[in-house]
Symmetry: C2
Subunit: 269 residues, 2 copies
């Protein structure tokens, strides 16, 4: 059961867009996918057309009340299931503040997705909100891999440094097998010098970590880049992934390539 958390504490860099479309892209390659919305803003939930149902059972019921995860699954497509969020998850940040081992609740809960006949899913993908609070720490403590979407603008590396520092602390204290799978350039504007400069800086930053024992020692800059494409911004308004909304768009092409790249990396190790 592969586990990937999509993280960046910076707002609006493409975490939700990446989580939803990578998940759907992988499901179309035959992988069974469980997508978990860890953001009280519930954008992943809305993106897949699940929001605003009365009495919707959400991740809150797992983290705070211990409901097993299979009871929360919402089927969105053949191989694609969602564990939704809603605003009550914001209360979890407060209610879990005093609980012992509060960063490890999700890790235990992920075990409920395993059965004697085998794992229910090939991949768990976790969309995190723009924070490094208790929900995101639960994702870091329970995942195997991290994908960091990043807009190649000034200060992108600055924010990433802080995120990697947190990843290092969680790896050291809670989750030694945690590692950064890769950095995903998102909202990529190919012919601008800003994109080229930041890409170069990222490559040297990652190169310096090679051979060390840091959790990002093997992190790659994904070959797949998600180009700026208005279709990616339109799709959530229709409750669809880019593959349903506009399968011939650049957005669909880029996320198909990313899904194949991620599958290739995870299958070859």
């Amino acid at each position: 059961m592969q586990r990937i958390a999509v993280l960046n504490q910076k707002g609006g860099v493409g975490k939700t867009t990446t989580s939803v479309n990578l998940a759907d892209g992988l499901s179309r390659l035959g992988q069974k996918i469980c997508l978990i919305d860890l953001d009280p803003q519930a954008h992943t939930t809305t993106h897949l057309g699940v929001a605003n149902q009365v009495n919707l059972p959400t991740l809150y019921h797992s983290l705070v009340n211990g409901h097993p995860l299979p009871s929360l699954l919402q089927k969105r497509a053949e191989n694609l299931y969602l564990i939704p969020s809603d605003i009550h998850l914001a209360a979890a940040e407060v209610e879990l503040a005093g609980v012992v081992a509060r960063e490890l609740i999700l890790r235990d809960q992920l075990e409920t997705l395993r059965t004697p006949q085998g794992d229910l899913f090939d991949f768990i993908i976790m969309d995190c909100g723009p924070s490094l609070g208790i929900l995101t720490l639960n994702a870091l403590a329970s995942t195997r891999d991290v994908i960091i979407p990043l807009q190649p603008h000034f200060l992108a590396l600055h924010g990433m440094g802080k995120l990697l520092e947190t990843t290092g602390i969680v790896a050291k204290k809670l989750n030694p097998s945690l590692r950064v799978l890769g950095i995903l350039l998102s909202m990529f504007e190919a012919n601008t010098k800003l994109a080229q400069e930041v890409t170069g800086e990222l490559e040297s930053y990652l190169a310096k970590a090679k051979g060390t024992r840091l959790p990002w020692a093997d992190a790659k800059l994904f070959q797949s880049k998600i180009r700026r494409n208005i279709k990616l911004a339109e799709a959530p308004g229709f409750g669809q992934s880019i593959f349903d909304y506009e399968p011939k768009s650049n957005g669909a092409e880029d996320f198909d390539l990313l899904a194949r790249e991620v599958l290739g990396i995870t299958q070859s190790r």
Copy 2:
């Protein structure tokens, strides 16, 4: 002394880009401007080339230690002064948690910018970080006007509703003269149907408030729209506003129009 706070709890919508370039735009129209960085990420401070000085006196020293604001001013251009931030401002959120009337500290401190000979500045512009915590509440309690930059994407209105709700609470309990001056469409992609749809939804949302006593009853959708322009993203890497970095760009043109529009509104009331 006009006071404008630039707010949106959503990350990466153009608050810093707006604060810096509106401030510089107004200063070039002869207005004396004080720009205050209220974000511990200190992006406005970095944008104007002030970050990373050892022992930099920042807004923290005003809010927590009561230093008068004139002692913190950094001159950036003829009519443009900055009160910088740095990461220690994050500690203010914690250290002020138990202080009585903790949302009103900045309001009192703004009085130190008045002298018996008159106000030191024509405009105070406050850049807020992507949160509705104590620093942003200080901005809302101390400002007269609010500008909300907004990327016209799906869910833009959803986030704005929450922000307006907070504005309403502060207006009711702490600052009756608070009002939303306007909504600024930023990262605007003119010929996309998404931008057109969201613009239409915004216009009807604002129209419904007309004639009520809500703080956004007179809010306008600014005629000036800030188009997507890579030059706006490059300028901070050089520590410059768009007017210094690329005065002939669309970005400079759009912010010049916005500065004139804002000056026109504030002078005609």
